[in-house]
Assembly symmetry: C2
Homo-oligomer: 111 residues x 2
DNA sequence: TGCTTATGCCTAGACAGTCGCAGTATTGGA
DNA sequence: TCCAATACTGCGACTGTCTAGGCATAAGCA
């Protein structure tokens, strides 16, 4: 009964995290999730049931381009890269997050 | 077509913001929303369609107690106050938010 | 040898939470 | 007179995450 939605906080920030991850170069889905979890120090966990729908959504919106390729291990993987629109979206979402996080901090971390 | 969900980032943090607001003393719903918007510098906007459902939800979960009272303007208002459980929930959510925000920052605000 | 774990992708349905919008009512100012 | 602000309620739409299943291959270990 403690928590119904395991990570409600992720709502709205996952897209930005994926965009930012891809700003460092093309990656495949699984690698994106690993990067986010590792870099955040496991503070942000990306479930596969959230990851793949997010990638399709973002591709559909023109923020990402997808292409089948091969991983370092020789596995068949779908590589994603940022589009120009995706880069613009990243800038917008980063700004929004920065402002929102600052606003929340003013209240939540006061005193 | 730009943004479907106006404030997806609010997901999961609204409860914490309300709890924190009430940690400063009892308030009625409308006043809670005003406080959050003012204190965050308008970075966090609380729509009424989000506010009241959140209050009912939190009361149902035992985090808040509600009682009809009167505002400074003499209007009939529903006053909310934090319960002991609410205080514990605030501590938990604050910790969760702090950790999550730090994790996101490590990725999003890098470079 | 067989089992488990890690890598990699996909999808369906459940579920929670925010938003838009409508409604109700009172008060004060332009 | 009309509009904005105050204050609460309810509903349906929408979006996005999660659970939980499926598939397939490779590596590590007992």
């Amino acid at each position: 009964m403690a928590d119904k939605t395991p990570n409600a906080l992720l709502h709205g920030s996952l897209d930005a995290l994926i965009l930012k991850t891809l700003a460092g170069g093309p990656r495949h889905g699984y690698a994106i999730a690993r990067f986010i979890e590792d870099t955040s120090g496991e503070a942000v966990i990306v479930e596969e049931g959230s990851l793949y729908p997010a990638l399709y959504r973002m591709e559909r919106r023109g923020w990402l381009d997808a292409e089948w390729g091969e991983s370092e291990l020789g596995r068949r993987v779908k590589m994603y890269r940022l589009t120009r629109q995706g880069r613009a979206q990243l800038a917008a979402e980063t700004a929004a997050w920065r402002e929102f996080a600052a606003g929340v901090s003013k209240i939540l971390l006061a005193q």
